[in-house]
Structures are given as structure tokens and as C-alpha cells.
């Protein structure tokens, strides 16, 4: 295990992944704001939520990159395309499983069976995150593939 390489490229991959998702929101591809979504687990304050969520997302990125690195060690090599492949698998998992169970885990997210009671809350992401814009799956797939490709290309197995 090359700890220095993991920390460096895990961090770099997370920076790029976060930037792609934030950029997708900025140019109107998706409404999904991952730091906001994660941060509101801890606070309803929109500004504070984004800050906390940003930090939380980085920790997540590093944690997930550890799994990528473990996979590289398991097959004995790291390449950009293998990293991208793991990224795509992770993105598919996020879109189909993680987002659909998120309303059950997130204290401030509605589910689609909610009602008529309303409280100020987050909308559920829906299947593939489509409630956050029909191009949401594209940005999630691209961001995770790039994340995996960076790790695969630059992580050095020792």
C-alpha cells in the first residue's frame, strides 16, 4: 500500500469529481448539489450545510478511493481505464441504490410516499436522480469515471 500516493490522488480525484458535479449544477445540467445534500443531514441552515457537506464529501471521496486502491492491489496494476470502470460501477450503484435509499436515511429528505403532511424539506432524488434534472445521471457517471481514471492513472503500486 502506497499511503502517500493514495492520499494525494484520492484527494485530487475528489477535487475533480466535486468540481465536475458543481460545474454540472452551474451550467444547468442538474440541480443536484452533493455538499448541500450531505450537509443537510447535520443542519437545516443552507449555507452551513454546504460547508459541512463539502468537508463530508471529501472524507467520503478519500474513503472510497481506498476501495479503488484496494482493487488495484488485488489485480496487481492500476490503469486509467480500470479506474474509470470502477468509477462507472460506483456511479451506477449511487444512481440506482444509494439515491433511492437516501430518503430513508436522510432526516430532512422527503420520500415519494410522503403526504399530505409537509415540512420544509429536501425533495427526494427519485430513480437515477431524475427529479434533480434529466441529465443528472450523465454528470454522476462522468464525474465518477473521471475520479476512477485519475486514481487509476496516477496511483503508484508499491
Amino acid at each position: 500500500m502506497n499511503w502517500g500516493s493514495w492520499l494525494l490522488w484520492g484527494f485530487a480525484g475528489t477535487v475533480v469529481l466535486t468540481s465536475i458535479l458543481a460545474g454540472s449544477q452551474g451550467i444547468g445540467l442538474t440541480r443536484m448539489n452533493i455538499p448541500y445534500m450531505l450537509g443537510t443531514i447535520f443542519t437545516p441552515d443552507r449555507d452551513r450545510a454546504k460547508f459541512i457537506g463539502f468537508f463530508f464529501h471529501f472524507v467520503n471521496g478519500l474513503a472510497f478511493s481506498f476501495i479503488y486502491v484496494a482493487a488495484f492491489h488485488a489485480i496487481g496494476r492500476s490503469t486509467w481505464w480500470f479506474g474509470a470502470l470502477i468509477g462507472l460501477v460506483q456511479a451506477i450503484f449511487v444512481l440506482t441504490v444509494a439515491l433511492s435509499i437516501l430518503p430513508a436515511l436522510h432526516p430532512r429528505m422527503a420520500n415519494e410516499q410522503r403526504g399530505p403532511t409537509v415540512v420544509k424539506q429536501l425533495e427526494p432524488p427519485g430513480f437515477l436522480g431524475l427529479h434533480y434534472g434529466i441529465r443528472t445521471p450523465i454528470s454522476v457517471l462522468v464525474a465518477h469515471a473521471v475520479f476512477g481514471a485519475i486514481l487509476g492513472a496516477f496511483y503508484v503500486i508499491k
Binding site: D47, E112, P116, V118, E123, G133
Partner: protein
């Protein structure tokens, strides 16, 4: 019982905060879309009695019908009195709190019909004829034995459970049963998108659901702080508004239906099962006015979320999750309500330019935040974007709030709402809630809009404000110049405009056309405009006239206090989509204005007598 096809006002509505159904006073469910308001209908007989699909439960004999909502609920009771006895049918969609739902395994959507015989003996006919995709296909109804009847559609399943034996006839289920005094039978129709589907229980479980539902609606109605004139109608309007709200996102759709005609037999038939930004300011004003802060805040959150992808430009309407509505298309297989073709789904107004929506959104945000409340960065960013957009584009022609599809025009109301946008932004900036705003620029643009309205929106010859700079006609929305604080209701210009509106747009007491084109289009009087008139009279201090007009307008509601979009001045029949949020918002806001005006008048009286 009347054997004719039901009129629009013959319907009442039940729902669960995510979907709703129309129940006719003949005992038929003629409109139901699951799982969402804008999903394809499984019962659409209101748009074509022959092929739309329905679920009818009624006495075999001729009967007299009356109905009511159980007090302060959306649980409907229809009473049928025949020569041999009396039955009461209770229709509802079960609802309860989220806490209680966690302990109960309920289907995602359920509609319950319970019939009890209260006198004598009555033979009851049941006809369950669902049709898929707005009547385009007859479903395969499978007998699932003790577990009821099942309709599988892809990953979704509909389940019908009944306490009596049903017989299959082609694509329908039917039964004929004699109910004796004291007998009760129940039906449950449900929808599940997840397997295994929940099979709802009957028997005592129905009574439990009914009690939970009644209690939930009563608790919600009791949250209203409104005490004032027309309390019954205001409460009903609030309950209707709640049925039009989509709880998972906080959106409020304009109406439950598509293509109920604005003019019988003609083509002014539109799909209203989406959320219009145009309604935003009225919605927030009404919800806060009644004390429903949670609902208002959920709506504001939806507004912020829905507009995220299109800002700084705002669309006219969005679906319940903020997406563009499906593209508009016609359903030629349906004959339409009373032969009013075409039936349309989707709405092309989403592509229109309506500059008034900026004022509506900013006014809604301004109203929803207290003077000392902090606006988060995203809200501030949205307001800055609105200020910039309005400052740049307010001079441009648009389609106007009535969404005319021909050439864009310089509508006075659109400019009024641009003025409102800048005015409220300046107020928030002045209170320190909004930073990085170019106040001088906003003030200058606001003043230019005012000058433009006073110069070009005012017709010197007719001595009235006019619908558009290039127009010699009045529009009822000019009354909103006073509502939004642009002009005092008592000002000479507003009084002259009001007099002109009364002269040109009032076909009979209690009714107001939206503008002078309404007669050419052979459309009905626009029900919301009646309540703008009440509001204006109240603001003018003409309280007796306001009450008189309010009474007359409310006289056009149906027997359970529901309004459609329009009213036929000749027959008094409801026209347009039903029930209509805009009209019920009008009822609430007019009552709030009247209450406040009466309180002001009483205070003045007290002070003058001291």
C-alpha cells in the same frame, strides 16, 4: 337522480396530497391519475364517458342525491335516497401523519369507498371499468382470489378488494347487491410501484383508516388562524389547496384535470396539472394569511429548487419536481368533456415568455421571510438574478398572464409585476437582507417602469389604465395595481379604471370577465376576477358592496363550495379545469382583505367615538 352526463360542478374531489380523484354526484369516480397528478388517467370518463373509464357505485332505482364533506375534512359523503331506502357512500383516500404511517403498512396510494344502508333496503349497482393510459387500453383484470383483483402494468400493480363478490364482464367488474338497513360494504382500490405490493385490509381496517383520515384533515384545518367573514368557504378553499399540493416536493398544481373546456364545445382546453409560477405570490399570501407556515415554506423551497436549472430565466410552469412538463399533445381518441375537442396533455405555455412571473416569485419570497429573517446565499443569488433580468428585459413584450398564444404585447400587468420585483428587492436590500444589489440602478429602473405604466398604460381618451400600451381595452388584472401597492385603490386613476371594468367586464352580479376579449372568445367569466373585485372594493373602503359581491360570487360555487376556473354567465355552470387553485386562492385572499378592511374600519369607528 339526473340521468344526463354530469356537469363540471357535479364533481367533488378527494385526495391524499400526492394524487386526487373526482367523484360525481351520481356516485362515479370519473377522474383518477396515479401515482402523480400528471400521470396517465385510469379513470377519465369526465373526458369521454364511453371510453375514458369509471368506477360507479349507485342505487339501481331512481334516487335523490345530496352530498357534503365531513366537517373540515376531504372525506366526501354522498347520500342517495330512493323509494325503498337510503344509502350513504363515503369516499376518501386514507391519510395520516408520517409518524403513524411508519407503524402501518399502507399501499402507496389507496382509494376507499364505503357504502352503508341507513334506511330500508336499497339495491346497489357496482360498475368498475378502469381504462389504461387515458382510455387507450382496456386492462387485463386478474382474479387473485381472496387477495382481490389485480391489474399488472409493467412494474406497477393496481389492486381492487371488495367485501362483495364481483363478476367479470369483458374488461369490467360488476355487482348488484341489495343492502338492508345497517349493512355496510367497503371497497379498496390501491396502487403500488414496489413489489411486493401491499394488499390493503378491509373490515375494521377501513374504519380505522377513515378515523385516521378524518382526524388528520381536522387537525390540519384546525391549524388555520383565520377568524373572519366566510370562514366555511375559506376553510374549504384551504382544504382544496392542500389537495392540489404535492407533498413530496411542496409544489402546488393549478388544477387536477386536463382539458375541461373554458368554452363548451370549443378548443380552449388545456392541461393544468402543473405548477404555475404565476400563482406563487397569491399562494404564499394565502398560506401565510391563514397560518400555514410549513406549507408556505415547503412551497418556497420547491420554487427555489424548481427554478434552479433555468435561472436567470424563469419558465411559466414546471412539473411537481421542477422539470419541464411533457410536451403538449392531443389525445384524439377522447371526445372531450361535452364534445369539447381536443383533449390535450402537456402544456405549450411552458415555452411562453411571461415577465410577470419575476414579480410573483420575488413577492412570494419577500412575503415568506420576516423583516429580520436572514436570506441564505442561494436565495440572495436568485433575487440578484431576478433584479438583473427584470432591469434588462421589462420593456419587452410578452405573452401576459393569460397566456395568449398570438403575438407578444406590452402588457400593463407584466410591467406591474416587474415593478413589484424591483420594489420588493429594494425593500429587502433596504432591510439588510440582500447584499451586493445595485440599489441605484434598481431604483432608477423601478421609477422608469412606474413612469411607463403611468404614461403608456394610461389611456388619456378613455381615462383608464388599459390592458397593454397598444390597447384601448381594460383587463380585470388592472385591479392588481392596488393589490400590489402600485397605486392606492382610492386614487382617482384606480377609481376611474374600476368604473370602466365594472362597465365593460361585469356580465351579472358576482361575475367578472378577465378582459374585453372574453366575449369574442365566448369564454365564461373568470372566477378569480370576482374575488379581485371583492379585494378592490374592500381596499376602497366600500365594505357593504364588497360583502354583497362576495355573497354573489360564492353563490356560483357548487354544493360543496368548490370552484372551477370559469363560470358561464348565462347558466351559472362551471367551466374550465376543476377544482382550480387560482380561484380558491382568490377566495382566501379576498376574505383576508375584507377581514382586514373591516378591522381597520372598526378601529376608525372606535377612535372617532372616543
Amino acid at each position: 337522480m339526473n340521468a344526463e352526463v354530469p356537469k363540471i360542478q357535479d364533481y367533488a374531489v378527494i385526495g391524499n396530497g400526492r394524487s386526487a380523484a373526482l367523484v360525481s354526484n351520481r356516485g362515479a369516480i370519473d377522474w383518477l391519475c396515479w401515482p402523480r397528478f400528471d400521470s396517465a388517467a385510469i379513470f377519465a370518463a369526465i373526458l369521454d364517458p364511453k371510453i375514458g373509464g369509471h368506477w360507479s357505485i349507485r342505487p339501481a332505482q331512481e334516487s335523490k342525491t345530496s352530498r357534503r364533506y365531513i366537517d373540515n375534512t376531504n372525506v366526501l359523503e354522498t347520500e342517495f335516497v330512493t323509494a325503498s331506502g337510503k344509502i350513504v357512500m363515503t369516499d376518501f383516500m386514507p391519510v395520516t401523519s408520517e409518524e403513524k404511517k411508519r407503524k402501518l403498512l399502507w399501499p402507496e396510494h389507496e382509494l376507499v369507498r364505503q357504502i352503508r344502508c341507513e334506511e330500508g333496503e336499497v339495491e346497489v349497482i357496482v360498475d368498475f371499468s378502469p381504462r389504461l393510459d387515458y382510455g387507450r387500453a382496456a386492462p387485463k383484470i386478474k382474479n387473485n382470489g381472496q387477495l382481490g383483483w389485480k391489474i399488472d402494468i409493467g412494474a406497477c400493480v393496481f389492486v381492487l378488494r371488495s367485501e362483495i363478490e364481483l363478476v367479470r364482464h369483458a374488461d369490467s367488474l360488476a355487482a348488484k347487491i341489495a343492502l338492508k338497513h345497517g349493512a355496510t360494504i367497503s371497497f379498496s382500490f390501491s396502487y403500488s410501484a414496489e413489489a411486493p405490493a401491499v394488499i390493503p385490509s378491509l373490515g375494521d381496517s377501513i374504519t380505522e383508516k377513515l378515523n385516521l383520515t378524518i382526524n388528520w384533515w381536522r387537525d390540519w384545518a384546525a391549524q388555520s388562524k383565520y377568524r373572519g367573514p366566510y370562514e366555511r368557504q375559506v376553510t374549504r378553499s384551504a382544504l382544496v389547496l392542500k389537495l392540489l399540493a404535492y407533498a413530496p416536493s411542496g409544489a402546488i398544481v393549478a388544477a387536477l384535470t386536463t382539458s375541461l373546456p373554458e368554452s363548451l364545445g370549443r378548443d380552449r382546453n388545456w392541461d393544468y396539472r402543473f405548477a404555475w409560477l404565476r400563482d406563487a405570490a397569491f399562494t404564499v399570501h394565502a398560506l401565510y394569511g391563514l397560518g400555514y407556515e410549513d406549507d408556505a415554506k415547503a412551497f418556497i423551497d420547491w420554487l427555489l429548487h424548481a427554478t434552479r436549472l433555468t435561472r436567470p430565466e424563469l419558465r411559466t410552469l414546471y412539473d411537481v419536481f421542477g422539470e419541464d412538463p411533457m410536451s403538449e399533445r392531443e389525445l384524439p381518441h377522447l371526445n372531450g368533456f361535452a364534445g369539447s375537442r381536443p383533449v390535450r396533455i402537456g402544456n405549450a405555455a411552458s415555452d411562453q415568455v411571461q415577465l410577470d412571473v419575476y414579480g410573483e416569485v420575488v413577492e412570494a419570497v419577500s412575503h415568506s421571510f420576516g423583516e429580520n429573517e436572514k436570506l441564505d446565499r442561494e436565495m440572495q443569488k436568485m433575487l440578484r438574478q431576478c433584479a438583473e433580468f427584470v432591469s434588462k428585459h421589462w420593456r419587452e413584450p410578452d405573452n401576459g398572464m393569460w397566456e395568449y398564444r398570438e403575438k407578444r404585447r406590452p402588457y400593463t400587468h407584466s410591467r406591474l409585476m416587474c415593478w413589484v420585483a424591483l420594489d420588493r428587492i429594494l425593500q429587502m436590500a433596504g432591510r439588510g437582507q440582500l447584499r451586493k444589489i445595485d440599489m441605484k440602478k434598481c431604483e432608477a429602473e423601478r421609477e422608469r417602469i412606474r413612469e411607463q405604466i403611468e404614461r403608456e398604460g394610461w389611456n388619456m381618451k378613455l381615462e383608464t389604465y388599459v390592458q397593454a400600451s397598444d390597447s384601448e381595452e381594460v383587463d380585470a388584472n388592472l385591479l392588481l395595481l392596488a393589490y400590489h401597492g402600485f397605486a392606492e385603490a382610492s386614487s382617482p386613476r384606480m377609481q376611474q379604471t374600476h368604473a370602466r371594468i365594472r362597465e365593460k367586464l361585469l356580465p351579472r352580479p358576482g361575475l367578472v370577465y378577465r378582459n374585453e376579449r372574453s366575449l369574442d372568445l365566448r369564454e365564461g367569466a373568470f372566477a378569480l376576477c370576482s374575488f379581485w373585485e371583492v379585494d378592490f372594493l374592500a381596499r376602497s373602503g366600500r365594505l357593504d358592496e364588497a360583502r354583497e359581491f362576495f355573497d354573489a360570487a360564492l353563490g356560483f360555487a357548487n354544493d360543496v363550495d368548490l370552484f372551477a376556473e370559469e363560470i358561464d354567465p348565462q347558466t351559472g355552470d362551471a367551466l374550465g379545469n376543476f377544482p382550480q387553485a387560482f380561484t380558491h386562492l382568490g377566495v382566501i385572499n379576498a376574505a383576508l382583505s375584507l377581514r382586514d378592511a373591516e378591522a381597520r374600519a372598526a378601529n376608525l369607528d372606535r377612535q372617532s367615538s372616543l
